[in-house]
């Protein structure tokens, strides 16, 4: 066996494997084991019930909407923080992490208060006929709030490393600002954006605390999948809860795998050959 320069491989690898097994694999295994205790027919009946399907649709559509919203605003926010120097820049930079630090239930209560039909934002919006709290729009806002940092924090370092000479090269070759953004900057941000998007989407799929306060939780209307699993849990119907959760697990896993593939493709130019 080749001699290694860095010591400690057996120790660190051992700790890592044990840790991953206990903290990640074991609970997920238990979930699948629990779901598997149902027969195939029961399993299918639970995960394909009308109420469950409605909850998937709401969760996925809202998560998509929230992620697209964050794509635009997260990118703009990262751009402003990296490219411009203005008073309060560091404060805004610090503020971006707040959704990570804040208990999501607190965020949910705060958002509900703001967007309720008599709240600071909710009242004027209600006046023009837009209802936010207790509608899918409220779910989207809660999801967007809790997952914003993912996009900003994945794009920011890549944006900082971009060589300004690339943009100048684009200018000397006659490209407009828009062409430079679309053809030079965006393709280089794409892998980071993809990573941010998938994290943001996964987080939105799994978000619970912030949403249940603002969503109203009306079955078939504003009930998210995580809540449905929780309701089954409260009814002591553990296998049903696990079955619904296993669908979410599958969705999240598939999406992360697809993102990884796309990322590898987007980064193919960095491969030395």
């Amino acid at each position: 066996m080749a001699r290694r320069i860095l010591p400690g491989l057996p120790l660190t690898l051992g700790i890592t494997l044990v840790y991953v097994a206990i903290i990640v694999v074991l609970p997920l295994g238990a979930l699948i084991f629990k779901a598997a205790s149902l027969g195939p027919e029961d399993y299918w009946r639970i995960v394909s019930s009308e109420r469950a399907i409605a909850s998937y649709r709401i969760t996925i559509l809202c998560a998509l909407a929230a992620t697209l919203f964050n794509l635009v605003f997260g990118l703009a926010l990262a751009w402003v923080i990296v490219r411009y120097r203005f008073p309060g820049r560091r404060f805004i930079d610090a503020l971006v992490d707040l959704p990570f630090a804040l208990p999501t239930a607190v965020a949910g209560i705060a958002l509900t208060t703001l967007f309720a039909s008599n709240g600071w934002f909710g009242a004027p919006l209600a006046a023009i006929g837009i209802k936010v709290a207790y509608t899918p729009l409220g779910i989207i806002i809660a999801m967007a709030f809790t997952s914003l940092p993912f996009i900003v924090r994945t794009v920011q370092p890549v944006l900082e490393e971009l060589d300004p000479a690339l943009e100048e090269a684009g200018q000397t070759l006659g490209a407009s600002d828009l062409e430079i953004f679309l053809r030079v900057i965006l393709p280089q941000l794409a892998p980071a954006l993809l990573a941010g998007l998938s994290l943001s989407f996964a987080r939105s799929l799994g978000e619970f605390g912030a949403i249940i306060f603002i969503a109203g939780n009306e079955p078939f209307e504003t009930e998210i999948t995580a809540l449905l699993a929780f309701i089954r849990l409260e009814e002591y119907d553990y296998p049903a809860s696990a079955a619904i959760a296993s669908v979410m697990l599958l969705a999240a896993f598939t999406m992360l795998a697809v993102t990884n593939l796309l990322q590898t493709r987007a980064l193919r130019y960095t491969v030395k050959g």
Binding site: A169, S176, V184, Q188, V271
Partner: protein, 339 residues
Amino acid sequence: MKIRLDTVVKTFDTFRAVHGVSLDIESGELVALLGPSGSGKTTILRMVAGLEFPDGGAIYFGDENATDIEVRHRGVGFVFQHYALFPHMTVDENIAFGMKVSKTKRSAAEISDRVAHLLRLVQLEGLQDRFPAQISGGQRQRVALARALAVDPKVLLLDEPFGALDANVRRDLRRWLRKIHDELGITTLFVTHDQAEALDLADRVVILDKGKIVQTGTPEEVCRAPASVFVMNFLGDANRLKVTVSGEKAQIQDVTFDVAGIADGAAELYFRPADVTWREDGHGIQATIARVIDRPDSRRVLALTTDGHSIEFDAAPEFPFRADTRGFVDIRRPRVYPA
């Protein structure tokens, strides 16, 4: 395209990078901006490109005042110091970029014809599908040049074009760039801090110090008649002896030098290491050899004159003497500057 700079000034915050530089570059000329770091040479190049705007003065392209024309409309080809190739595009796509975003629409076939032509010109046929990370530094340099030439620039500007390359690659590319320039006849301005590169490549050398032009001339002119102590030192190794001038003559020991046009008083006499002959006896400045350093094509001799000046000179590889040998140095082509 003829370029004219008229008393161009550029200040960054409190640092004045360029102090009233005026310069004429004839159509089809290859001109080097030569100077140490901080001499303002890159700033001048970037102002000609339109990547910086001057605070004062004007830049003309032909008869047109180009001072306020935006970089993307100025029609310059710019080769960046570290090439600035688009990392996510292949060699082909990099070269085609300028044509794709151009207002003059070209068909896909026209573009690929021109890319193929440019690939031949820069001798990179067969590498068109590689990404910049997959080719060598010298190859990247040539892709950058092809990309700049693709948009038919009126002027070609190169920022330290060979700075990041190995010595051998550098020399080959210099010869090659000269050949391309002679073929295309495009007005070219390049920046370098390497005097050998400037002298090797340029029709005319513009030497800069602290944001000002200190001398302009052909390589021969600046080498044979450096205008100042700065130019003398910057162009190559130089020995310095302190002398006193009286009646247009300078005296060192019993050797007299004619120094026409230098006022009486303290002065400095400079000479190149190659302009010295060592004699065992006879006439010259008395000196003792301190050390001999061997080089592939010569020997560099370090000597100390009897009045305490250390000098260095080059001798043939057969030079037989060792340290502590006494003798005389005979100086050719001395240049005297007022102290």
